[in-house]
């Protein structure tokens, strides 16, 4: 079927601006992704899945420019003992990175394309699986054109987090990175990500969590006011495995984070959480799709958005429980704290259930700051600003608590506090 003309034109324009990287083992996957991309076309304003978020700047042939934020605050996770992997505008920086060696994990770069690699079985595969029932063209684009990325194979418990650190240095950078994480049986790893990455950033992370394995992901997207990002996580969970991801987003004119998880083994646990703080020209979209295809699995989605001065928050979250996925425990909550009347929160929570013995709940709320709570705090001597900040941090607490490691929770809260302080001037 031919694409509608505007979509065809936009897709052609974007493709013309990109170069297909040299082959190696990923070449067939890239070709297949390109074919899929051409068949579906890039997202357009009329697409149902893009009803609340305008895709045009994410799709445009050239990235809109984004000023680089100048600040002297220490970066998040700076105090954390970790293995550092640094990208500047999407380009790997060997000098600034630690040697890619650590016990119980094998780390390589996508750009070092040999002819055979373990990632061959995964690269673009989880992304492809995640294209049904809803198309995610920007992810197919990513698989096709990613210039680099990190491939991690985890064989045991990794002693410290692996940190992907993204610097944004050029006002016009347009980065496409694709990571693959394979956590084998008995493996357990924490992956950290932080930094604005580029003027425009397209990132995919495919995560395969084997039976009994664990994957923890904490991400802080932020700082630069004008940057744009479209990210996807595609995860497949084996029996008794654990997958937990948390994202903090502060600033950024446009962020779309999609997380697509399939629970394929019994007794698996999946937690997807996020908190965002938006002020002014800020649009933040969490789009989540969790599929239960095994027995006795648990999934939680916890999203909190703090919005002010006309900021917009979007949540599209779905839990799909397939036939036979009995004893599913699904939970989904998305809430916004609107600090003024100009801001808005658009939520589309969905449940689709084909099994009869399940417990699923979902809820979505939007509200202003609790005036009684605010007065109570002020009556005890807290200045209005501090009281509001305290209530704001309290509001996102449920999401932050999804992070298992308490010191990482503190890193995130510290970041939020710094942001609030900076806002108040």
């Amino acid at each position: 079927m031919a694409l509608p003309q505007p979509k065809q034109t936009a897709t052609d324009a974007r493709l013309a601006a990109l170069d297909l990287p040299e082959g190696g083992w990923s070449a067939p996957a890239r070709q297949s992704a390109l074919a899929r991309l051409q068949a579906m076309g890039l997202p357009g304003a009329r697409d149902e899945y893009w009803k609340y978020t305008r895709p045009d700047t994410l799709v445009a042939a050239e990235a809109p420019t984004a000023a680089v934020f100048q600040g002297d605050e220490p970066l998040v996770f700076d105090g954390v003992e970790r293995l550092k992997i640094v990208f500047r505008d999407g380009v790997f920086d060997a000098e600034a990175s630690d040697p890619l060696a650590l016990e119980n994990i094998e780390i390589a770069r996508l750009a070092d394309a040999a002819d055979i690699h373990w990632a061959q079985d995964l690269y673009g595969k989880l992304e492809e699986d995640g294209q049904t029932p809803v198309e995610r063209p920007l992810a197919a684009l990513n698989t096709t054109f990613a210039t680099d990325g990190i491939l991690m194979r985890v064989t045991g418990k990794v002693s410290k987090p692996v940190a992907l650190i993204y610097y944004h240095e050029s006002e016009t950078s347009d980065a496409i990175l694709h990571h693959v994480v394979k956590v084998e049986e008995g493996g357990d790893v924490t992956v950290l990500e932080n930094g604005p990455a580029a003027a425009r950033f397209n990132k995919v992370m495919e995560v395969d969590v084997a039976d009994g394995a664990g994957f923890h992901h904490i991400r802080a997207q932020g700082r630069d006011h004008e940057r744009r990002a479209a990210t996807h996580i595609f995860a497949r969970l084996g029996a008794e495995s654990t997958f937990k991801t948390f994202t903090l987003t502060v600033n950024g004119v446009l962020t779309r984070n999609e997380c697509v998880v399939e629970l394929t083994g019994d007794d698996a646990v999946c937690h997807i959480a996020g908190a965002c703080m938006g002020d002014g020209d800020f649009h933040h979209d969490d789009t989540v799709f969790v599929t239960h295809d095994a027995v006795n699995c648990e999934s939680r989605q916890v999203f909190k958005k703090v919005l002010r001065n006309g900021a917009t928050g979007v949540f599209q979250g779905k839990i799909l429980v397939k036939q036979g996925a009995q004893k599913t425990d699904g939970y989904q909550i998305s809430q916004s704290l609107l600090l003024d009347e100009d801001s808005q929160f658009l939520a589309k929570p969905e449940l689709e259930i084909y099994a009869d013995d399940v417990a699923c709940s979902h809820g979505s709320t939007s509200g202003a700051i609790d005036e009684d709570g605010l007065f109570y705090l002020r009556a005890r001597g807290l200045p209005r600003g501090i009281a509001e900040d305290l209530l704001t941090i309290a509001f996102i607490a449920e999401a932050v608590q999804e992070i298992e490691d308490e010191s990482l929770q503190e890193e995130i809260v510290g970041r939020v506090e710094a942001w609030l302080l900076r806002r108040r001037g």
Binding site: D370, E371, D372, G373, F375, Y376, L377, R378, A379, R380, G381, L382, P383, R384, I386, A387, L390, L391, I393, A394, F395, A397, E398
Partner: protein, 251 residues
Amino acid sequence: MLEIKNLQVKLEEEDKQILKGVNLTVEAGKVHAIMGPNGSGKSTLSYVLSGKDGYVVTEGEATLGGEDILEMEPEERAAAGLFLAFQYPVEIPGVGNMTFLRTAVNAQRKARGDEEMSSTEFLKVVREKAKSLKIDAEMLKRPVNVGFSGGEKKRNEILQMAMLEPKMCILDETDSGLDVDAMKLVSDGVNALRDEGRGFLVITHYQRLLDHIKPDVVHIMYDGRIIKTGGPELALEVETQGYAHLIEEEA
């Protein structure tokens, strides 16, 4: 200490007069009690004094240590030494009781130009005061008032008061919801704070509390006014005879 003159207050949202000319002076070192039928305006008075939104002062004034407080923000009134133990303490999910207490203590110190309390000193003081109110470590860790029983909430108010050491304490029905033993604990907590430099305004429906916290002066409030002022015997009179005869006298 606290001087209220001809205070008249109406609601912001509707044209309803709640306080119709309250006159009241609480001297330093004294305990004044206010009693009065439901809906007579006692809580409204306490809210207006502490700066809650939603009320409009149409006449009169209120000063604390000679300073006009009605123009101040709630936090400024707190820093000036005013404290209200709420009739209905507010639950604040996500904010730990300890964090809250420490932030409050230090915010007030900062506002007064005093040095902040170190965390070790703070911990020491808070533990000691919590212990005397039988508030355990678990309750200190929990979010402010969340899941606290009615009596626990009231004890938590007194703990805050003990930590903040205000000059003027207003207690709005702190006795309601307390069991006999808790009433004793809370009263001991209040009595421990009684001194020459501090004033108390205790709102209550029952003589029982006043057995423990002996008032110097008792006021009866009705329909937005103080209709009678007397000594501790006035509370006993209310206990046995109710308000009807006092209201009639006034009419």
